[in-house]
């Protein structure tokens, strides 16, 4: 018998997971909401210091159609237009709903304040001061979730496999970090809301739990992934001097509000050399800016830490203070005075456009298995527009939760003890086969992160990707079965890291195989051996696991019928 049971199991309790849990409970389902960290405190949402893009039209005239056009343009022709349209259509109501639930969006003159951001054609991005959007929305959702008795929250429970029976998702098995036990959970519907994969890369803006587990869980359960080659490298992540207490991507809102000059190691502006303009504004899209910075570094015009300088020295202190108040003090505590010093910034893995392949009701091809938030692939195509990530978390979370609740009728409950036992034995093997002279899982994770950064990062070649694939294969076949796992019972992070590493390897392989097969450069996927965009590659790649092998295939992008789009 399973240890726990609910109609809907939500895996991951960031923005998408909490929204999904609320939506499912509001439709009458019993919900278990689990997170390997602490519910409402893990994941990416809480780290977002910046903006949420929604066509509220409160700052200036805007429309869902315009937001969709901007999103599709940023996606370089590869967006799943149904998912992108859903994001744009439902965004405004979610933002207003969050305000009713207590989020205090920055306001002026009686309306929600909306700022310009790169790639948007109007002022569309709302936020919570000061650089507090993520913590504020996470607090709102945590409070809301805790007020709903039908939602059972479980922290420090890491889901490590989805259980299936006859091709249907029936539950999950999870590591309870507190006592080291493997726990089984029966559920009629499961929602993967465990976020992205940026922890696969050495330079990242990830939290501890962005190892791509949602993708691996989906693959192993029989679902498909899509667009896995499109990892967004955020161009101006903080590199130096060492800065603590701030999200490394904190400079984005500074640039929205204040501009700031992006300079190479020789203190020259350079974005215009790469087919875009910047000039103290913030116009270049993320993929072009990331590309330009790394090309300058490669040409020997980088900064000491391998990036570019960001310069606000021309902006008066009073202006800095009125825009960012207490944040200026936090910078001072790190010895950074923007009126006197420049900071070093550079690309880091920040977001994954690809993910679990779902239809517009967030359903995977596995019955009972849904996805939400960054775990979902397709809405953002080859490049995500800034501000769309939190919108996507709320919109897809709400959709997944309500659809899952309708499908999760009590009578559909199934359990398969044999499937659970097989899973348990496989997982117990990690502890049982621990090698005294083996390598610690976290050490191998670090090697994988460096491998992915060097060989499958912002600039790719067929040769580098092939080498990455060989090493990933070797890590899985040779190293993974011979890890050194501590014998500790409580909070055994070695065991957690081993399970996470297993997922990271599957997800990394999906990224590399997709990147290898896409012989062109488009959006966030840059092949140095195929530098041009190839019209023949205006297709999406789907990844699936078949007889133990990861296979990729091409499909035509999901398009909206245009009259429907303009009607939206």
């Amino acid at each position: 018998m399973p240890d726990l049971s609910a109609e809907v199991l939500v895996i991951g309790a960031g923005g998408a997971g909490m929204y999904a849990a609320i939506a499912a409970a509001e439709r009458g389902s019993s919900v278990i909401l689990v997170d390997k960290g602490q519910v409402g405190r893990g994941g990416a949402t809480i780290m977002a210091q910046m903006t949420v893009a929604v066509a509220l039209g409160q700052q200036e005239p805007d429309s869902v159609t315009l937001h969709l056009e901007d999103t599709l343009r940023a996606g370089r022709g590869l967006c799943n237009e149904e998912l992108a349209a859903l994001l744009c259509e439902d965004g405004p109501q979610r933002i207003l709903e969050m305000e009713r639930w207590g989020t205090r969006w920055a306001r002026e003159s009686g309306h929600i304040k909306q700022e310009m951001a790169p790639g948007h054609s109007v002022k569309r991005c709302c936020y919570v001061d000061f650089l507090n959007t993520g913590p504020a929305v996470a607090a709102t959702l945590r409070r809301k979730v805790s007020e709903i008795p039908a939602i059972r929250r479980v922290s420090n429970l890491a889901v490590v496999e989805i259980l299936t029976h006859d091709g249907q998702a029936i539950g999950a098995i999870a590591l309870n970090l507190g006592d080291g036990e493997l726990i089984t959970i029966q559920a009629n519907a499961l929602i993967l809301a465990a976020g992205g994969l940026t922890k696969l890369y050495e330079r990242n803006s990830a939290s501890a739990n962005m190892g791509g587990e949602a993708y691996a869980l989906a693959l192993w359960a029989g679902a498909e992934l899509i667009d896995m080659e499109f990892v967004q490298f955020f161009p101006i992540g903080h590199l130096a001097p060492r800065l603590v207490g701030m999200d490394p991507i904190m400079w984005d809102p500074f640039r929205y509000k204040l501009g700031g000059k992006l300079l190479n190691g020789q203190f020259e502006e350079f974005i215009d050399r790469y087919g875009s303009t910047d000039f103290g504004q913030y116009n270049a899209t993320r993929d072009i800016a990331a590309y330009a910075i790394l090309k300058e570094v490669e040409a020997g015009r980088g900064t000491p830490h391998g990036g570019a300088y960001l310069d606000f020295r021309h902006i008066a202190e009073s202006e800095l203070r009125s825009a960012f108040g207490p944040v200026i003090d936090r910078l001072a505590a790190n010895g950074i005075d923007l009126t006197k010093t420049v900071v070093e910034v550079g690309p880091m893995a920040h977001y994954h456009m690809g993910g679990v392949r779902v239809d517009a009701s967030m359903q995977t091809r596995v019955e009972g298995l849904y996805a939400a938030g960054e775990a979902v692939g397709g809405a953002n195509g080859a490049n995500r527009l800034s501000g769309n990530a939190i919108t996507e978390a709320f919109v897809f979370g709400a959709r997944a939760g309500s659809v899952a609740a309708e499908k999760a009728k009590p009578e559909s409950g199934k359990w398969d003890e044999k499937s659970a036992d097989e899973s348990r034995q496989r997982l117990e093997g990690f502890r049982a086969n621990s090698q005294k002279n083996g390598i610690a899982p976290i050490t191998l994770q670090a090697e994988l992160q460096k491998l992915m950064w060097d060989q499958a990062g912002p600039f790719r070649t067929g040769e580098k990707l092939t080498a990455a694939l060989a090493r990933i294969d070797e890590m899985r076949e040779r190293d993974l079965p011979r890890l050194r796992i501590s014998a500790a019972v409580q909070f055994n992070l070695d065991l957690h890291d081993a399970f996470e590493l297993r997922a990271m390897l599957s997800t990394a392989e999906a990224v590399v195989r997709s990147a290898l097969a896409r012989t062109e450069s488009r959006g966030a996927h840059q092949r140095e051996d195929f530098p041009n965009t190839d019209a023949r590659c205006l297709k999406n790649q789907v990844v699936e696991l078949k007889d133990g092998e990861l296979l990729t295939r091409w499909i035509a992008p999901v398009r909206l019928n245009r009259s429907e789009a303009s009607h939206g």
Binding site: L4, G42, S207, R242
Partner: protein, 113 residues
């Protein structure tokens, strides 16, 4: 002690679990100006002793608020507590039930199994 010549920080870390014997382990970590106590704890896990139990999520942003421990006797978020040029002692929160090493039970009762 942070030796500028060797750029090394020294940490003294409380180890153990309820009912077991508690002791302190000493670790030396390469020091970089501005680094946090959590940076050092993560470096120890990756390079010296992966069995060290610590709790954190957001790493750097001081957003998740889950990385608290006792640093030189004061309750601190380890992600923003800077390493200082003396031996840094890190211990679990004293008023919470110990789980293991630096991890204490800070999870609300209604979020537990």
């Amino acid at each position: 002690m942070v030796s500028q010549a060797h750029k090394t920080a020294h940490l003294r870390i409380s180890r153990g679990f309820p009912g077991g014997e508690k002791h302190y382990d000493n670790f030396e970590v390469p020091y970089e100006e501005g680094m946090s106590v959590l940076d050092a704890l993560r470096w120890i896990r990756a390079h010296l002793d992966s069995s060290l139990a610590i709790r954190y999520s957001c790493i750097n942003a001081n957003a998740c608020k889950t990385c608290m421990a006792l640093v030189n006797g004061e309750v601190e978020y380890t992600c923003i507590a800077k390493l200082t040029p003396v031996i840094v002692t890190v211990e679990p929160l004293p008023k919470r039930q110990l789980i293991r090493d630096l991890v204490t039970d800070v999870i609300p009762d209604d979020e537990k199994l």
